[in-house]
Chain length 116, copies 2
C-alpha cells in the first residue's frame, strides 16, 4: 500500500458505483458478472471499478481461474473511519447547539402557555 | 449540494494537503496565509485546495473583504462517517477473529506448558 493509503481509500470511495459494489459485497462474495448485473454498465467498465477497489485494498479476489469471486476487505474502511473520528466533536457540537436552541424554544413556549 | 454529495466529500478528502488543512482548522479559524504557512506551496495552489473544500461544504469562509477566515464545517464529515459506520461489523469481525485466534494460541501454550 502506498504511504498515502488514506488518499487511495477516499479516491476509491468517491464514486457511487464503487460504493454500490461494496454495499453488494457486504451481503457476501460475488462474481464480476453478479456485481455487474444491477448496473447499466459493460463488464470492462465494472472491471475497471473493481481494479480501483482492489488497488485500494477494499476488495480481494479469489484465485480460481474461472470464477474469481470478490469479497469485501474492511481494513481501509476502518482507517478512514478512524480518521473521521477525530472530527466527531465538531459535528456533535453543532448538534448540541441545535439541541440547546430547541430546549430554549420549548421553555419559551411553556412560559408563553402559562401566561395565557 | 449535488445529489451525490458523498462522492464530492470523499474526493475532497482524497488529498493529504486538504486533510492537513482540515486538521489545522480543527484548532480554530485561520486565514489563507496562515493555512499556507506550513506547506511548500504557492498561495494560488492553496486557494485551489480551499475551493475544493468549500465546494464540498467542508469549510466556510468569512465575508470580510480583506481577511476571510476559513472555518471547519463538519456536516459532510458526519455523513461520510455515517456511511462508513455500515461496514463497522466487518472490521470488528476481523478483529474478533484475530482475538479468537490469539485466545486459541494462548490456550495451546498453556496446555503445552502443563505437559512439561
Amino acid at each position: 500500500m502506498s504511504p498515502d493509503h488514506l488518499s487511495t481509500t477516499f479516491t476509491a470511495l468517491a464514486d457511487p458505483t464503487r460504493r454500490a459494489i461494496l454495499a453488494r459485497l457486504a451481503a457476501g462474495e460475488a462474481s464480476v458478472t453478479e456485481l455487474a448485473a444491477p448496473f447499466a454498465m459493460s463488464l470492462p467498465a465494472i472491471s475497471k471499478h473493481l481494479k480501483v477497489l482492489e488497488r485500494a485494498g477494499l476488495i480481494a479476489r479469489g484465485r480460481e481461474a474461472q470464477w474469481r469471486p470478490c469479497r469485501l476487505e474492511a481494513g481501509p474502511l476502518k482507517d478512514a473511519a478512524d480518521w473521521l473520528e477525530h472530527y466527531r466533536r465538531f459535528w456533535e457540537q453543532s448538534f448540541d447547539r441545535l439541541e440547546d436552541y430547541l430546549g430554549e424554544l420549548k421553555k419559551k413556549e411553556k412560559k408563553h402557555g402559562r401566561k395565557k
